[in-house]
């Protein structure tokens, strides 16, 4: 088990290093891809159809929160992810909807193994997408989106300030890209997602504001901040491959989720990089209007 954790941490950490600069989605968009014609492995949902992918995730996490400690912590992470696409009426501007929900947990230690921090988090992302490109071999969907994200860090070494939270509720831009291709005579599909919050409300204590003060005096106002990409740089990116296997479509991917806020005078850098594996299911929705 420990070996698996170590491998996951090492490989995932390497991936996140490589991917943190520019997403694979961006690279693939810029490259002249030579894909084959549409295969049946992955296509966007039709009107009133939903495609849902339930995945388990494992990888690594990294956190540094100067409210709790000046040290860096890292360790393995596990999670669950639910991802769904819905097709709306084709005559609507945003004719697709996407939601991505995940929960994750990570026990982390600092480099010296002298301390430990636990991280738990939840994120929920909702996007309305306009099909900028949709043809046999690729789909490019762009649109506005909203995301709620909350991470809680628990530093087991601290006495009066053991816990700190970081989170935001923000609107942003979302880009989804799908490419269908064949490799070694097998039809496959690659999906890439990038989301970044542009404006919203972020939570972080007002410098050394004790949580006890928020609770005792009801003074939460100082802990709420207007966020922009400059004081709350955050993004979610995901690259996944859909592979058919005996009538089932599996999705194997890597998602990278980052918050780097500098709110309230302290800085926080929290990322979770996780490999995901799940299976994709297609559902027919009820006609709501009938």
């Amino acid at each position: 088990m420990k070996i698996i954790q170590k491998i996951l941490t090492m490989v995932s950490s390497r991936c996140s290093d490589e991917l943190s600069g520019l997403s694979a989605a961006l690279l693939l968009m810029l490259l002249p891809v030579s894909a084959l014609a549409q295969s049946g492995v992955w296509y966007l949902p039709e009107h009133n159809e939903t495609v849902r992918v339930i995945s388990v995730a494992a990888g690594n996490a990294f956190a540094r929160d100067t409210y709790l400690s000046a040290s860096r912590y890292d360790g393995w992470a596990i999670g669950l992810e639910g991802d769904s696409w819905t097709g709306y009426r084709p005559d609507r501007l945003f004719s697709y909807g996407r939601s991505l929900s995940s929960v994750f947990f990570s026990p982390m230690t600092n480099r010296l193994d002298g301390g430990s921090t636990l991280e738990a988090g939840i994120s929920d992302y909702l996007a309305f997408l306009w099909p900028a490109i949709r043809n046999n071999r690729q789909d490019l969907l762009i649109g506005p989106s909203a995301m709620f994200k909350a991470n809680v860090l628990y530093n087991r070494q601290n006495s009066n300030n053991p816990v700190n939270g970081a989170g935001y509720l923000a609107g942003g831009l979302s880009v989804d890209y799908s490419l269908r291709f064949s490799l070694l005579r097998y039809d496959m599909a690659m999906q890439a997602t990038f989301y970044a919050p542009l404006a919203g409300l972020g939570f972080a204590p007002d410098y050394d504001q004790p949580y006890w003060y928020m609770y005792n005096y009801g003074d939460y106002g100082k802990a709420l901040h207007f966020i922009t990409p400059f004081n709350n740089p955050a993004f979610l990116q995901q690259v996944a491959f859909v592979l058919p296997c005996r009538g089932t479509r599996f999705r194997v991917g890597y998602s990278f989720d980052y918050i780097g806020n500098r709110l309230g005078g302290h800085s926080r850098n929290i990322f979770n990089g996780m490999f995901t594996i799940g299976c994709a299911l297609r559902f027919q929705n009820k006609e709501w209007n009938q």
Partner: protein, 351 residues
């Protein structure tokens, strides 16, 4: 085709802009220290410099100049020094602040400066206290003991505020003491605990809500970056019995942190008289952080002031100053308790 290229380029530009925004770094974020003696030293000094809340007070009362402290102790730091030597130097450096809430925890020791207690007479004897409590005292909670003394005065010992006394047990205690003429609360050598436990006990000694203290917290790295003052209101424990007869609170230098808070809270009440020595202080709510080598530093972060806006970091002065008398000790008497009994009995005659 042109439309596709245009869309790709636009999306790429937006993504690149977002990535650039994400990679912006501030000076603070870059400020990470190496795990070397020099790095750990600078890390500790900086954490304290940016987050400790009593620099002005310590400069005024103790002459501590934190920049000068850095210069002085930096000379003792070398990258060849052992971990234990580094620990000693760092403990000496933070010891300059003479703050019981400033500690450094390493795997082999707990760095502290307890001069706020050890430099003064203890004015307390555990043996004598045991003698007054006798063998049939009531245990009303973890660290809460009481009995009724021979002259019909209640005697409550609070060893620690590490845990709460329950409402039920307070009601039983006050019920048992219903006919008592007064109550002596002995918090000598109570090193603190949970602020809320102290406040909860104090709320049983007032009939009306009143402001008992003010507090604030640090809002930035500057020595004077503080939030507005928050008023702490003590509200009566309305559901429970409340004590309105005379109370004498016995204090000594060993009363620290939450016990210090309890002392100034009780001092604001009309029926309470503080007797004994000034408390040990500890008027700052502590927080913790960590050095690159994993050692944990605790520091005062949010200062508190009493109801008259006096700083309580150096303790709360009693209404009646008292020292233990050697002759009393030899005679097996506790000067503090005897004076408190006399005070309450005198009040009966001359209210």
């Amino acid at each position: 085709m042109k439309r596709e290229i245009y869309i790709r380029l636009t999306a790429s530009v937006v993504l690149i802009l977002l990535m650039v925004a994400c990679s912006q770094k501030t000076e603070r974020e870059d400020m990470e220290f190496s795990n070397t003696p020099a790095g750990n030293f600078l890390s500790l000094w900086t954490i304290m410099d940016e987050r400790y809340c009593f620099f002005d007070l310590k400069k005024e009362q103790l002459g501590v100049d934190w920049d000068e402290v850095q210069e002085r102790y930096a000379a003792s730091i070398s990258n060849e020094m052992s971990s234990k030597s580094l620990f000693e130097v760092l403990c000496s450096m933070i010891g300059e602040l003479r703050d019981g809430h400033v500690n450094l925890t390493s795997p082999y020791d707990y760095g502290r400066n307890w001069s706020w207690k050890t430099d003064y007479p203890s004015n307390y004897s555990a043996d004598l206290r045991e003698k007054y409590l006798g063998k049939d005292y009531v245990i009303a909670g973890d660290g809460y003991f009481y009995r009724i003394l021979d002259d019909n005065i209640g005697y409550l010992v609070v060893e620690s505020f590490g845990s709460f006394i329950s409402s039920n047990r307070i009601n039983v205690m006050f019920g048992n003491m219903l006919l008592c003429n007064g109550l002596i609360i002995d918090i000598r050598d109570n090193g603190g605990g949970d602020l809320r436990a102290a406040e909860f006990l104090a709320s049983h000694f007032t009939e009306k809500s009143l402001p008992v203290s003010y507090s604030c917290y640090k809002t930035g790295p500057g020595h004077n970056d503080f939030s507005k003052l928050y008023t702490n209101i003590l509200t009566p424990a309305k559901e429970d019995m409340r004590w309105i007869k005379p109370v004498v609170l016995l204090t000594n230098r060993g009363c620290f942190s939450s016990a210090n808070d309890f002392a100034f809270t009780m001092k604001a009440l009309e029926n309470v008289t503080l007797m004994g020595d000034t408390t040990g202080g500890g008027g700052g709510l502590p927080m913790s952080s960590e050095l690159p080598n994993g050692w944990v530093v605790r520091f005062s972060s949010a200062p508190t002031y009493d109801s008259e806006m006096n700083d309580v970091e150096f303790g709360v002065a009693p209404d009646i100053r008292l020292d233990m008398d050697d002759d009393d000790i030899k005679a097996g008497k506790d000067t503090y308790i005897e004076r408190a009994r006399k005070f309450i009995n005198d009040k009966l005659v001359n209210p």
